[in-house]
Amino acid sequence: MAEAILGLQAITRDFDSFRAVDSVSFDIGRGSITGLIGPNGAGKTTLFNVLAGLLPPTSGSVQLNGQDVTRLSPNRLFGRGLGRTFQIPRPFAKMSVLENVMLAPLAQMGERWFGPFLHADKVSLQEKAIREKAMDVLEFVTLDKLADHAAGQISGGQMKLLELARVLMGDPELILLDEPAAGVNPTLTGVLIEKIEELNRRGKTFVIIEHDMDFVMQHCDPVIALAEGKVVFQGTPEQAQANTVLLDAYLGAQIDE
């Protein structure tokens, strides 16, 4: 495996007496597209929330680029190059699609309240650059024509693409996608896969939670399966498809056809 961009050591997360994630350890290789699968309630999203800093782990540790980031807040993790999307999209509904995307870049001078008063010229120059980049990113995810729409009014699939666009504006090295294809129509899913692979060729690392087994088997390598909070399988998609226990228990008929 390539050098690890993300390392997990014995991550455990309890909710009261319920253990959602149970001593999970694995490494994510730089430049890979890792598929994270498992039945509903297996702990996949909880694990994502721990990795992205939204939930502190009950125990265990996380390394990003070799540095311990276990209890960093989501905002600091984004600053260190870890971006994530949400299972249920979280657009800023009453803001334009363009504003949603323009929000994301880090270290904007205009984000200080006195910015527009003290350094109006520099702020407007920076805004211009951000707007151009935002339009490029929106074009990349095929949302450029919706730039002036309220983000709460676009379709669910488009919201998934919008979340990807927002994350891309921060230029993270590692992107966690939570069910990017769920509820997205086949055409948009095709666009999404194409974009993920293109970004991957440019060096981005992905970890993707997905229930669509065709998606996972065709585009992810390695594949990691969770069940009841534990890692039950880790290997290539070919090994996953040959693993009868995994197939029977979690994937069942989905792979047969």
Binding site: A52, L54, S73, P74, N75, F78, G79, G83, R84, F86, R90, P91, F92, A93, K94, M95, S96, L98, E99, N100, M102, L103, A104, L106, Q108, M109, G110, E111, R112, W113, G115, P116, F117, V123, S124, E127, R131, A134, A147, D148, A150, Q153, R166, V167, G170
Partner: protein
């Protein structure tokens, strides 16, 4: 005739002063989603601060610093800002209704402190001994009030322009993102706690300005001026005008203040004598009805928030907001 003009000047001055407070609340609630249920505490901090710093020497309570008036006013605003900083630090983890309850409690505590800390605030008697600025030159009458109105209007316009610039800048985008979805904003590298604190302080400083002007206008402030009803009035103004829209905030302030004044006048004039005892209570009920009615039938207010497309200044109306 001169009586009517005098009255209009009086009315407009008070409405303009309250507009400034509504603008402050609009930054907090309309733009940042901060549910400040204690507007009157920050208004009061500005009022008491201004009079204590700018008043003449008194034996009964703190004061007599006789600061140059603009400094006293700025000092009052800083008192409000300082209080917002403390309140913000203490309530940093609270959201929505919890924040509303906490800030409401702060306002009640503030009112009681002012009522009882006689050495600080003159207690229930209020703060006296404030000379209105330029009083010696302009006298007490019509001219003074007209010039004071111009002064208030200039500050209202300045506040409005400041806030318009602010919410159309990248900072405004940041505030709206926090209002819409704090978790998503945090996942994009933004620090919600810091942003909410700054918005609370800026909005409260503006409320402090409003309180300072109010106290200057009457040359007096007492605990009776900072009762919870004022918080509700200011909220009604914002809800009726349109949260998220500064024009709406100002229009709502004038409308509600007109309705409040007219209902008081109408009740005292036309209501049966035994009802007149309850004028105040009836007005309380009316203001509650206005808030509930607006929230039910037109929650976006008379002037709905406009969608900012980007910071180029182009804005477009969104039709199907909630």
């Amino acid at each position: 005739m001169i009586g009517l003009i005098s009255y209009l000047i009086f009315f407009t001055t008070v409405a303009a002063i309250l507009s400034i407070a509504v603008l402050g609340l609009n930054l907090q609630w309309g733009n940042s989603g901060l549910f400040n249920g204690g507007v009157v505490a920050f208004f009061g901090a500005g009022a008491y601060g201004t009079l204590i710093l700018g008043g003449t020497a008194q034996s009964a309570h703190l004061g007599g610093f006789e600061l140059f008036y603009p400094l006293a006013l700025i000092g009052g605003m800083m008192c409000a800002g300082l209080m917002a900083w403390v309140v913000g630090k203490l309530t940093i983890r609270l959201r929505h209704d919890y924040l509303a309850i906490a800030t409401f409690g702060v306002a009640v505590a503030f009112e009681n402190l002012m009522r009882n800390a006689e050495g600080l605030s003159g207690g229930a008697q209020g703060l006296r001994g404030f000379e209105r600025p330029l009083h010696a030159w302009l006298g007490d009458g019509f001219t003074y009030n007209a010039i004071f109105l111009v002064f208030v209007l200039i500050l209202l316009i300045a506040t409005y322009r400041f806030l318009e610039l602010l919410i159309r800048s990248p900072y405004g985008r940041l505030l709206r993102a926090i209002r819409e979805d704090e978790t998503a904003a945090q996942s994009l590298g933004k620090d919600p706690a810091k942003i909410r604190l700054a918005s609370l302080i800026i909005g409260s400083v503006i409320m402090g300005l409003s309180g300072g002007l109010y106290a200057t206008f009457y040359a007096f402030i007492s605990p009776q001026d900072i009762l919870p009803i004022l918080t509700f009035q200011i909220w009604a103004m914002l809800i009726v005008g349109g949260a998220g829209n500064n024009k709406g905030a100002v229009a709502g302030a004038f409308l509600i203040w007109a309705a409040w004044t007219a209902s008081g006048w109408g009740l005292s004039r036309f209501a049966p004598l035994e009802m007149q005892l309850y004028t105040g209570s009836i007005q309380f009920i009316l203001i509650g009805l206005v808030i509930v009615g607006m929230l039910l039938w037109r929650p976006q207010g008379l002037f709905p928030e406009k969608l900012v497309i980007s910071q180029s200044g182009r804005a477009k109306h969104v039709k199907n907001r909630e």
